[in-house]
Each structure stands twice: as structure tokens, then as C-alpha cells.
């Protein structure tokens, strides 16, 4: 699996997923409000958005698990409607919730799942052993699911999604709820798959995850795509290069505030924090000696800044 040459991903023209004016409402409540996007073979596309943005609904429509409410959705060149057996045959899905089969052992989870795809037994066995090695669960092959940690379960879910050699891997928040170690292991595995040329579509609200893995990011909010581009491109377009954070607990805060406001390209307040965004890192650096006595944090702009800038800072529950 890893031995395959790296595919040229960005210049591939083959469109695996094509959505135009895609809409979905649950009873009367609209969740996805007309979105357009493409996923091409070989690329990794990330849906970023706060809770309730419509990310999971969107990918569930691709998985044929939520019916298309309106607009167009084509997967592998086929319109999605009802039990799209031929589409599902070519997809690998890692759901957000754990839905491993608790009645079966680790190995049997893979074998039984492979059988749903009609794969022959020898093929399933060989592939299952390969995948257990890939996700580092060989020693757990005969264990029951309830004895696995959260990270192990997620890795097994990933292995399960790969049993049929899917052309498109769909991951709904693949590292949510994992501790940092487990999360990094999942990322490692996903990077390895990306190098092997696997097309991936993932949702996440970890900005770091999107920045590390995705060639392109679509930021969703309230059922719409509000920004799209490469992680670096989005940062440059919406934030700039660097950020200086200032805390208002500082007694001479107002002087510093004035200085920051004068120098930064854009200033934003949130609670006891003030953020100064700089397009050019030289301007940020020039300000630092002046602010030396104040409590400031100077850092590079991240996707999280873009995200918060675009989706606002109110809590989403």
C-alpha cells in the first residue's frame, strides 16, 4: 500500500465529488443552505466549521446516509439517490461516533466488514493483517472492542474503512476526543495515506489538523461555505503573517493598546485579549521592543485566526 508512487494530486482533473447548490433541511430547519464544491482525485479536502455548521450533514449526504435535500450531488460521476450501492462500494467511511461492532473481536470487525463489500475470504484475511500492522493493533487482534482505548478504536475504525481499498476516504472528525499522543498517531497514519495518493475528505475543528493534512480547506458556517483555499493562502488572505496578543490585565494596557492599534493592520478584541494582525512580519517585529514591558505573545498567524475571524468568537452550542 505504501509502496505505490506518489500520485500527482493537485493537477488531477478527475472530479470524485461534485456538489452544486446542495441543500438539506431536517424537518423544517435548514442545515445546509446551498453549497458548491469539488473533490478531485488525490487531494485532501477539509471541511472546517463550528458545531452545527453543516459539515457532518454534508459528508453524510456523500455517504448516502442522509438523503439529498436539494441541488446536485454527484459522487464518482453518479447522482446520489437512495441506496447508491455502486457509490458506497468505492467509499471508506470513518464516522464521528464509534460504531465498531462490540459483539466481535478486533480481527473479526475487519473480516465481517470486508464481507459486507463481498470481498473473498483470503483477500479479507490478508488485507486485515496488513491493516492491523498499519494501525499498530496486531497484538489486539483477538481482543474485544470494549477493552480498547479511544485511540485504538479510532485506529481500528480507520483500518476498517480501508479494508475495501476505497477510492475516497471520508473522515468525520477523525481525532476528536483523543488525547494528544493518540491524535498524533492518527495524523501520522493519515499523512501516510495521503502520501500513498488516497483521496480524503475530512471534517474537523482542529485547525492544526486541517493545516497539517489538507491541500484545500472549505470553511463552513451556518450551512454555507464562507471561505475556501489552501491553509497558507487563507492565512495570508484573511490574517497576514503574524499576530501580537495583548492582555488587558496589564495596568498600562491603554497605552499599549494605542501602540498596537497604530501599528497593526487589523485589531480585534475578545474578552480580556486584544489581537493585532500584521500582514508583514517586519511591522510586528518593529513593535515588539516598544511593547517590551507589556504582557504580549508574538506568534505566526494560524488557520485558527482565520477561522475565528470569519466565524466570530461567540460560543456555538
Amino acid at each position: 500500500m505504501m509502496g505505490r508512487p506518489i500520485l500527482s494530486r493537485v493537477d488531477s482533473e478527475e472530479v470524485l465529488v461534485r456538489a452544486r447548490g446542495l441543500v438539506k433541511a431536517y424537518s423544517t430547519e435548514p442545515v445546509v443552505k446551498g453549497i458548491d464544491f469539488d473533490v478531485r482525485r488525490g487531494e485532501c479536502v477539509g471541511f472546517l466549521g463550528p458545531n452545527g455548521a453543516g459539515k457532518t450533514t454534508t459528508i453524510n449526504m456523500i455517504c448516502c446516509f442522509v438523503s439529498v435535500g436539494g441541488g446536485e450531488l454527484e459522487v464518482f460521476g453518479q447522482r446520489v439517490n437512495g441506496d447508491a450501492r455502486d457509490i458506497k462500494r468505492r467509499l471508506g467511511v470513518v464516522s464521528q461516533e464509534n460504531n465498531l461492532d462490540p459483539d466481535l473481536t478486533v480481527l473479526k470487525n475487519l473480516l465481517v466488514y470486508g464481507r459486507y463489500f463481498g470481498l473473498p475470504r483470503e483477500h479479507r484475511l490478508r488485507r486485515a493483517e496488513e491493516l492491523l500492522e498499519f494501525v499498530q493493533l496486531e497484538e489486539k487482534r483477538d481482543s474485544h472492542i470494549r477493552t480498547l482505548s479511544g485511540g485504538m478504536r479510532r485506529r481500528l475504525t480507520l483500518a476498517r474503512a480501508l479494508i475495501s481499498n476505497p477510492e475516497l476516504l471520508i473522515l468525520d472528525e477523525p481525532s476528536t476526543g483523543l488525547d494528544p499522543q493518540a491524535r498524533h498517531v492518527v495524523w501520522q497514519k493519515l499523512r501516510a495515506l495521503k502520501r500513498a495518493g488516497v483521496t480524503m475528505l475530512l471534517t474537523t475543528h482542529y485547525m492544526e489538523e486541517a493545516a497539517q493534512l489538507c491541500d484545500r480547506v472549505l470553511i463552513m458556517d451556518e450551512g454555507r461555505i464562507i471561505a475556501r483555499g489552501t491553509p497558507q493562502g487563507l492565512i495570508e488572505e484573511h490574517i497576514g503573517a503574524e499576530v501580537v496578543e495583548l492582555y488587558s490585565t496589564d495596568p498600562s494596557h491603554s497605552d499599549a493598546m494605542a501602540l498596537l492599534q497604530g501599528a497593526a493592520d487589523h485589531v480585534e478584541r475578545a474578552g480580556d485579549e486584544v489581537f493585532g494582525f500584521f500582514r508583514r512580519s517586519e511591522s510586528a517585529r518593529a513593535l515588539l521592543p516598544v511593547l517590551a514591558e507589556h504582557h504580549v505573545v508574538h506568534r505566526r498567524a494560524t488557520l485558527e485566526d482565520v477561522f475565528l475571524r470569519l466565524t466570530g468568537r461567540e460560543l456555538r452550542e
Binding site: V66, R89, N99, D101, L104, V112, R115, Y116
Partner: protein
């Protein structure tokens, strides 16, 4: 339109999943499915049977046994597609995982119902195995009890599945088991013939699916099958088709939003 063979293969893969998770606990599961009807068989057939003269020209135990095969098939299948399927659908999210593969909702439902019917068949076969040495089987026609037991399992499996699709929680199965399964267990002619009762009872019992299953079971074990009984067979077939159609529709509505 997907080919029938693809659909049958899909349902069978779901059946195999259930078999695979069951076989490690087969003994414990069998005791639950089989022991209870056998205890009934012994207690009612021989205990109560000593005080009852013949019913319809046969000893009480011979009258009771085929009824118990039918009611056991009903219970085994009903438990499987209510508590079992509800757990797989809602607690374990197994249905969700399966329908994201090439398997359809209809195949998941059919696979679970066929699994429920297999448990009915197994339990029915055990009772039949006790009836044989006791001389309670009149002739070779009694072998047809096995496919009939399987068919009764499919019918009640489908009925349980349709109820599961609309049940908000486990507690709601109390209604089903008391008001539907419980009523049928007692008033479908398993323990006493319905013809001696006020006519409206027999009339009402005609609407209970178990009644028709019991009539056919008894005809097969006692060798009294009559051509007119095609009506009972047709009744069962029609009810089974309706329940299956309804269960697929309702489960799809619950699963795919």
C-alpha cells in the same frame, strides 16, 4: 433495480454477522431460547395433562406440543428483532456502520429477520426432537413443521422489527410483549381449543397471526392437514409480506434522515 441475487447475498452477509457474534455464546443463548418452552412442555403437558382428558381426540400433551412449537417460534423471533435489533440499531450503531457499506437498509432488515427466524427454527427443532421419541408425531408430514417454524419466525421477526422502528426506548417493548405477544400466547389456541368459547372469541382470534400458525402446526404433527387450510397459509403469507414491507419502510425512515 438491483438483482435479486445481490440482495439475497447482502441479507445473508448480515445474517452471518449475527451468527458470528452469537456462536461464541451459543450455549447461553440456547438455554434462554429453548429451556423455557421445554419447561412449559413438561409442566403443562405432563403436569396439567394428567387432569385433562383428550382434546380433539388426542392426549393433552399431543394437543399442546405443536402449539408450543408455534409460540416458541414467535417468542424467539420477537425477542431477537425487538431487544436484539433495537440494541444493534440504537445502542451499538451497527446498522449505521453496515448501511455505509454496499449493503442496503432492506438487506439489513431482511438479514436480521432471517436471523430471528433461524433462532425460531433452532428452538422449534429442539422441541420436535423431544416430541419424536414420545410418539407425538403422526407421520412423515410432521417434518414440514421445520419450514413452517422458520416461516412463523420470519413473520414475527418482521412484526417485531416494525415495532422496533417506532419504539422510542426499551421500556416501550412492554406494550408489545404484554398486549401483542402475550395476548397471542394465551388466546391463539396453544393451550385450549377456541371452538368451545363464545363465538366472538374465535372470531377475534382469527385476526391473530399465531392462531393460523397453531392450526397448521397441529395439522402437521397430528396428520390432519386438510385442503381448506390453504386459507391459513395464505393468511400467514399475506401478513408476513405486509409486516416485512412495513418494517423496511419504517426502519429506513428512522435510519436515513
Amino acid at each position: 433495480m438491483t438483482q435479486l441475487t445481490t440482495r439475497v447475498a447482502g441479507a445473508f452477509r448480515v445474517w452471518l454477522r449475527n451468527f458470528e457474534s452469537w456462536k461464541d455464546f451459543a450455549v447461553a443463548s440456547l438455554v434462554g431460547t429453548v429451556a423455557e418452552p421445554l419447561l412449559f412442555f413438561a409442566a403443562m403437558g405432563f403436569g396439567l395433562g394428567r387432569f385433562v382428558d383428550e382434546i380433539q381426540g388426542q392426549p393433552y400433551v399431543a394437543f399442546l406440543a405443536p402449539g408450543l412449537v408455534a409460540s416458541t417460534a414467535m417468542n424467539a423471533a420477537s425477542f431477537e428483532t425487538t431487544f436484539g435489533s433495537f440494541t444493534r440499531m440504537n445502542e451499538q450503531r451497527t446498522y449505521e456502520a453496515i448501511v455505509m457499506t454496499p449493503i442496503s437498509v432492506g438487506e439489513v432488515v431482511a438479514g436480521d429477520i432471517l436471523w430471528a427466524a433461524s433462532k425460531s427454527l433452532l428452538a422449534g427443532a429442539v422441541i420436535l426432537a423431544f416430541m419424536l421419541p414420545l410418539g407425538l408425531l403422526a407421520g412423515p408430514l410432521a417434518a414440514a413443521v421445520l419450514p413452517l417454524t422458520f416461516a412463523v419466525g420470519i413473520m414475527f421477526g418482521a412484526l417485531g422489527m416494525a415495532y422496533t422502528a417506532i419504539a422510542p426506548s426499551y421500556t416501550f417493548f412492554n406494550y408489545f410483549f404484554t398486549l401483542v405477544i402475550g395476548v397471542m400466547f394465551l388466546f391463539s389456541g396453544v393451550f385450549f381449543p377456541l371452538d368451545g368459547l363464545p363465538s366472538w372469541v374465535g372470531w377475534a382470534a382469527w385476526f391473530l397471526p399465531l392462531t393460523h400458525a397453531v392450526i397448521l402446526m397441529r395439522a402437521l404433527t397430528s396428520g390432519t392437514l386438510e385442503p381448506s387450510m390453504w386459507v391459513n397459509g395464505a393468511w400467514l403469507a399475506a401478513f408476513t409480506l405486509a409486516a416485512f414491507w412495513l418494517s423496511v419502510r419504517l426502519i429506513r425512515r428512522r435510519l436515513i434522515r
